[in-house]
């Protein structure tokens, strides 16, 4: 145990925690959007994230031909390379999420199968994706080029405001606010809210349920894809099972904030990112993953509905 780091590195831990937390939030939004509409934990979301990280590398290394060892880029070529990999990751993740829904859940839903069947199907898809990626990639971690030079805006009490960190933080905030506006203000967003309140009553309004479900998976894919991009710009490598830890953490974040609730996913992610940073500084970074599980167990024991959640039991009816 080392409590002195809390004071000596406070600002730095907060900054790192917020950046990591917002990446969790973006993935958590993927879980929470789907849960809100279908009352289903889409376990495959973590593998959607994994595929997103590989998409970023594919664009940067294979399509744009940047060697892992290349020097950082500048100006328009840099912005173009980053924008292209971000858009590709979001697009591929959205498509993959929609595909997963059609392949793994739609028929079960049409048949009125119980939720447990969908849950098993979700886990199946998740294992299928990560294991096929293990084969494609020979279980090897893949590194990406450092396109973005990691210069710093400056330091504040030991916190290093590096450009990749700041980019992840600001972009996540923007994505979150756009999503909130969309869900609360747009016509399709209202359809999503209506379906999450009641499927049958939404049908009575003339809402095409399957379309709303597809849209929801697509949105979840978009935010998860964005998370994958920021993850790669900060950590610069990935592996076939990267989705496992990140997925569990994001899922915990969603539960922590109250699953099915956008605000919950956002603040749950932040809270978890901060907890993880502080815990690993105090007890040691090997305990990082353990902290996540401890938080998960405690939330489930003490307040299963999460911080902002409607009671989970209530939303299930």
């Amino acid at each position: 145990m080392n409590f002195s780091v809390v004071t000596s590195q406070f600002a730095s831990l907060v900054l790192q925690g917020v950046a990591l937390g917002l990446i969790y939030s973006l993935i958590a939004l993927g879980y929470t959007m789907v849960y809100g509409v279908l009352r289903l934990i889409n376990f495959a979301n973590s593998e959607v994230f994994m595929v997103g990280t590989f998409t970023v590398l594919f664009i940067q290394v294979t399509v744009l031909g940047h060697a892992v060892t290349r020097e950082p880029m500048h100006g328009w070529p840099l912005i173009l390379a980053l924008a292209l990999s971000l858009i590709a990751a979001m697009g591929v993740c959205a498509l993959l999420a929609m595909l997963v829904e059609v392949v793994a859940y739609r028929r079960l839903r049409a048949k009125g199968a119980n939720r447990l069947a969908s849950l098993i199907s979700a886990i199946g898809v998740s294992i299928f994706l990560s294991e096929s990626w293990r084969i494609f990639t020979d279980s090897r971690p893949h590194a990406g080029p450092r396109l973005l030079e990691k210069w710093s805006f400056g330091e504040f009490h030991g916190a290093n405001f590096r450009i990749d960190t700041m980019m992840a933080i600001f972009a996540s905030l923007i994505i979150y606010m756009v999503l909130l506006r969309f869900v609360n203000g747009s016509r399709l967003g209202k359809a999503i809210r209506a379906v999450s309140m009641s499927e049958e009553n939404s049908l009575l309004m003339g809402i095409n349920l399957n379309r709303v479900v597809t849209l929801t998976f697509a949105i979840g894919g978009l935010t998860t894809g964005a998370a994958a991009f920021f993850y790669i710009t900060i950590y610069e490598n990935t592996v076939f099972n990267v989705g496992f830890n990140l997925g569990i953490a994001a899922f915990t974040a969603a539960i922590l904030g109250g699953i099915g609730n956008l605000r919950g996913a956002f603040f749950g992610g932040l809270a978890l990112g901060l907890t993880e940073q502080f815990a690993s500084a105090i007890i040691g970074s090997q305990w990082k993953a353990v902290t996540v599980f401890i938080v998960l167990v405690f939330v489930l024991l003490i307040k299963p509905s999460g911080i902002f959640g409607e009671a989970v039991q209530q939303t299930r009816t």
């Binding site: 209202k190 309140m197 009641s198 009553n201 003339g206």
Partner: protein, 243 residues
């Protein structure tokens, strides 16, 4: 408009909840379907709206069999429902709830204004509360909202599932009065499901009595009001013990 249900059966798993019923609703009518709890009234309305699968028989709407048409397209055909328990969206404002009533609008603005005004004329209370969350309304107001929302789609036939359920006597009278107004002033055809048989039979032109999934009587509503069996079973004023 003519809605004709022909020899309709509906199953929940292996259990046959609706056992070959036939109902006709003609243009301009109020037709009521009365019956005890569990008789299958809600199942019938849900099936007309497409929320339950037809296992045998047909639902003819203007002569076309719509039993395979997806639920969300039936609203556009002209079938709207105010479901049992009202089914309003609690987290949405009254106005948002009303807007949802016809989700698929082609001409959004002008048409919507017109529809809104029509509903607000009918239910001034809803206009006063347009910004308030649906979930905070009283039971009667929620029922008004459910009916108003269904009217937003300018339905050719309006399905009402126990609109009087759980309301105070004053409000019940109010709701039944509005049902007549909708029928006479807007010319909307109505299929009304009720356990409050007395009121329903007074308002309706024709009536069907449903018992455990079967139609056991069909007559002019005024005739059923004087039918000894119906009085005994549903109006609580006959010689029998009732249900």
């Amino acid at each position: 408009m003519r809605l004709e249900i022909k020899d309709l059966s509906v199953h929940y798993g292996k259990i046959e909840a609706i056992k070959g019923i036939s109902i006709v609703v003609n243009q301009g009518e109020i037709v009521t379907l009365i019956g005890a709890n569990g008789a299958g009234k809600t199942t019938t309305l849900k099936t007309i709206s497409g929320l339950r699968k037809v296992s045998r028989g047909a639902i003819l709407f203007d002569g076309q069999d719509i039993s395979k048409v997806p639920a969300y397209e039936r609203v556009d055909l002209g079938i709207s429902q105010a479901p049992e328990g009202r089914g309003i969206f609690p987290g949405m404002s009254v106005l948002e709830n009303l807007e949802m009533g016809k989700f698929n609008r082609k001409d959004r603005r002008s048409e919507m204004k017109e529809d809104l005004n029509r509903v607000y004329d009918l239910f001034p209370r809803l206009k006063e509360r347009s910004g308030q969350a649906g979930g905070t309304l009283s039971g009667g107001e929620q029922q008004m909202l459910a009916i108003g929302r269904a009217l937003m789609a300018r339905p050719k036939v309006l399905l009402l599932d126990e609109p009087s359920m759980g309301l105070a006597p004053m409000m019940i009278a109010n709701i039944f009065q509005i049902i007549t107004t909708i029928n006479t002033e807007l010319g909307t055809t109505i299929l009304l499901v009720e356990q409050n048989a007395q009121q329903a039979l007074q308002r309706a032109h024709r009536a069907y009595v449903l018992e455990t999934g079967k139609i056991v009587k069909e007559a002019k509503a005024s005739d059923l009001l004087n039918d000894p069996e119906v009085r005994a079973a549903y109006l609580g004023t006959g010689a029998g013990t009732g249900h």
